[in-house]
């Protein structure tokens, strides 16, 4: 099967790759661009470990074909920090121990950033339902929710 040439922007960088029409955006990020921050936990859009934004829309990159990224803008966990400075969410996740094994963390960070970009003042319930597509098996979510609520409060104060 002949490959498709894709030009896209990932974390602000213009990139190109060739992909099989069947390959997902997640496959392309991981295997062709060496961006292994997004994880494949299920491949069926149930766990959210592969969450990225595509033109500012939160998606499971395992449910998007690589070819669909043509001409679009993709943001992954690798693009969250600015230079040496971690994004406030990243900082708070470490501080609150909002991660144990860390496999779901990239997806949860990307998903949460997308939430706070839309809604800087979410209730706890809104955070819990927004993250209902991001599975974490280690933490019981308690420390994740606390880290997010505290980050949101800090960001509101700073703005």
């Amino acid at each position: 099967m002949s490959k498709i040439h894709v030009s896209t922007t990932v974390n602000g960088d213009e990139v190109e790759f060739l992909c099989d029409p069947r390959e997902t955006l997640l496959d392309c990020l991981r295997d062709k661009l060496n961006l292994t921050g997004a994880k494949e936990g299920c491949g069926t859009g149930d766990c959210g470990a592969c969450s990225v934004t595509l033109d500012d829309r939160l998606v499971c990159s395992c449910l998007v074909l690589g070819a669909e990224a043509e001409g679009k803008t993709v943001s992954t966990v690798e693009g969250m920090a600015e230079g040496e400075s971690l994004h406030p969410l990243q900082q708070k996740f470490i501080e609150y121990a909002a991660l144990q094994c860390g496999i779901c963390t990239p997806g949860i960070l990307v998903a949460t950033k997308a939430l706070l970009d839309k809604n800087p003042d979410p209730t706890e319930s809104e955070v819990r339902y927004w993250l209902a597509g991001n599975l974490c098996r280690c933490t019981g979510y308690d420390k994740i929710i606390r880290a997010i609520m505290d980050t949101a409060a800090d960001l509101r104060e700073a703005s």
Binding site: R22, K39, Q90, E95, G102, I103, T139
Partner: protein, 755 residues
Amino acid sequence: MALDEPKTTDFKYVGTRPDRPDGFDKVTGRAKFGADMSAPGMLHAAILRSPHAHARILSIDTSEAEAMKGVKAVVTRADFSKNVPFESGLSGEFWNILENVMAGEKALYDGHAVAAVAATSALDARDALKLIKVDYEVLPHVTDVDAAMASGAPVLRKGAADSSVPEGLHPNVVRYHESGHGDVEAGFTAADLVIEDSFVTEATHQGYIEPHACLATLGSDGKGELWCTTQGHWHAQKVCAALLDLETSQLRVTASEIGGGFGGKTTVFIEPVALALARKANRSVKLVMNRSEVFRATGPTSSTSMDIKIGMTKDGKITAAKGVFCLQGGAFPGAPCDESAMCAFAPYNLENVLQVGYDVMSNRPKQAAYRAPGSPMAAFAVESVIDELCKKLNLDPIDIRLKNAAHTGSKSSFGPRFDAIGLVETLEAAKAHPHYSAPLKPGQGRGISCGFWFNHGGETAVSLALSEDGTAQISVGTPDIGGSRASMALMAAEELGIPYDHIRCTIADTATLGYNEISHGSRVTYASGLATIKAARDAVEKLCKRAAAKWGIPEEAVKWQDGFAVPSGPNAGDFDPIPLKDLTADMGATGGPIVGHFEASPEGAGVSFATHLVDAEVDPETGKTEILRYTVVQDAGKAIHPTYVEGQYQGGAAQGIGWALNEEYIYGDDGRLQNAGFLDYRIPLASDLPMIDTVIIEVPNPGHPYGVRGVGETSICPPLAAIANAVSAASGVRLRQLPMSPPRIVAALKNQSNG
């Protein structure tokens, strides 16, 4: 192990809550998990799996797959060792693993591996699987534990039963356990009320979000490299070497960051397959499971069928307890029927107790450890009956547990007397907690349960090397599954007297240290922690020697205090204390590198108890249960990093909530797993759970220098029962089958109203 009295006070670093050393990598996406590693010229592999629950493999034709463009190797059972002997029970564990990793004469469950392919791309490998022709003769199958024990059930494999099994039982019963003391029949006669009930629980999966993944390199020279996500890379090394006829030391195994294990990554599934493909293709091979494979072929717990009988006097004294625990362990021996039996009544100080366990094979995947294997199900059954007794006798459930509680020095239900334990303290803290007295609304109910786990020590090797600038690097051999690198660094900081930030802890590969047992049995903070403390003390002794030489006084005249070598007393001489970094700065000239070691099998892992409180509300129309409030009270012995201890408590509770309410393996009549994905096997979501409160009790374990007890597993023991008791209180019906899914609750309510 003889130890001095544990240090329990005046900690400078232990008990603080610094950031974890792996945090930065994990929030930036640069942490390398199993599937994140690649090698030059690497191939991708895929595994062909049986669609049948039980079938004889008549032939496998791989020729078309081998001829496909891009395919570099195909393996079947013929490519693995022929020198692994079949033996009964757990004696044949290497054979059991081999047979599980790649089917031999029969496919034993839906998802059993039968062949594998390595190709230049993952898509090609997957396509090539379709070209492999397997001729199966489908056989009758059995997936239910009671059915598998019944006469006439299909026999999975003759000769698998070990000598513990009494005569006359079905060949699928492969191990038997019996323990206890006293006279249970006399005890039941002395009771004012005896309740006898039966319980069943379905298999659940550990549900780690990271599927199994590895990268293997192996040449015909017998030397190999393996990178894999595992809880125990020395174990992986040993097993892979045996299954592929390699010398153990010639295979170096490196553990990746591990994306959750919970017991499910204590064995190997794909690693020997990737190595066999790598050897055949003479190329590196990456093999990653998809989620469906994870559900069908790895993990799950045993399903169980249990009969419990408990007698109680009117004033709440338990007079006798008896339990029969039948555990279905998949197509191989190893279901933790002995652990179920031994944990079941462990929280209670009983005069008369008898517990029996059966390990039963069926056409399901080989069960794997899941957090306190066997204990949560047993607690579900036992603590449900105790709850019923309390209700019928109108007794307070905490008071009754306190009245019968095991305590320091009491004889355990499984034999030995307990050393220092903290069950009573957890019950008292639960009773005093505002949660216990908070008002409930109509339709809501409160449940309570105790839980027990043994904890474990095991083979452990640690080395601690000092650097010239006065910092330290620790090499440990237990993969970090819950923040243990931070805990190790805290304990080393305490001993060395240097700041936490000056210590880096690394999970060493198999070439770097002696054998380290798997990260299981809640052993890491206990055993690797003990080893780290001992290694640090070994380094300190060497530091003191260097100081003694500088001062020209005997070694015994130097002691270590808060990061400094100081004269041990006025008679030792009057010298200025020397800080650690001044001793390491010129260590090359004063005797060479300073490295502390510890290698042993610590045996003082203190057992651990927990008490959980939970409030639930049941919607009688839909049968949906909402968890309103949850409090975990557990004895940690000593919390090295309290935040991570809380994390273990919360994680165990959350997994228990899933097990109690939703999670189950569903098999069709055809013996195939019907819900092999996260959509249909639903683990708790953020929107399903409340905050989970924690109370850390610290009753020091005399077997650890700081009193540490493992905390990872006990937290999943009480939730199933606590929630069942809350559901019963909320809805008025007693569910004796897990999970308590909405349809089951609706059916139970309907049955009750029909009388």
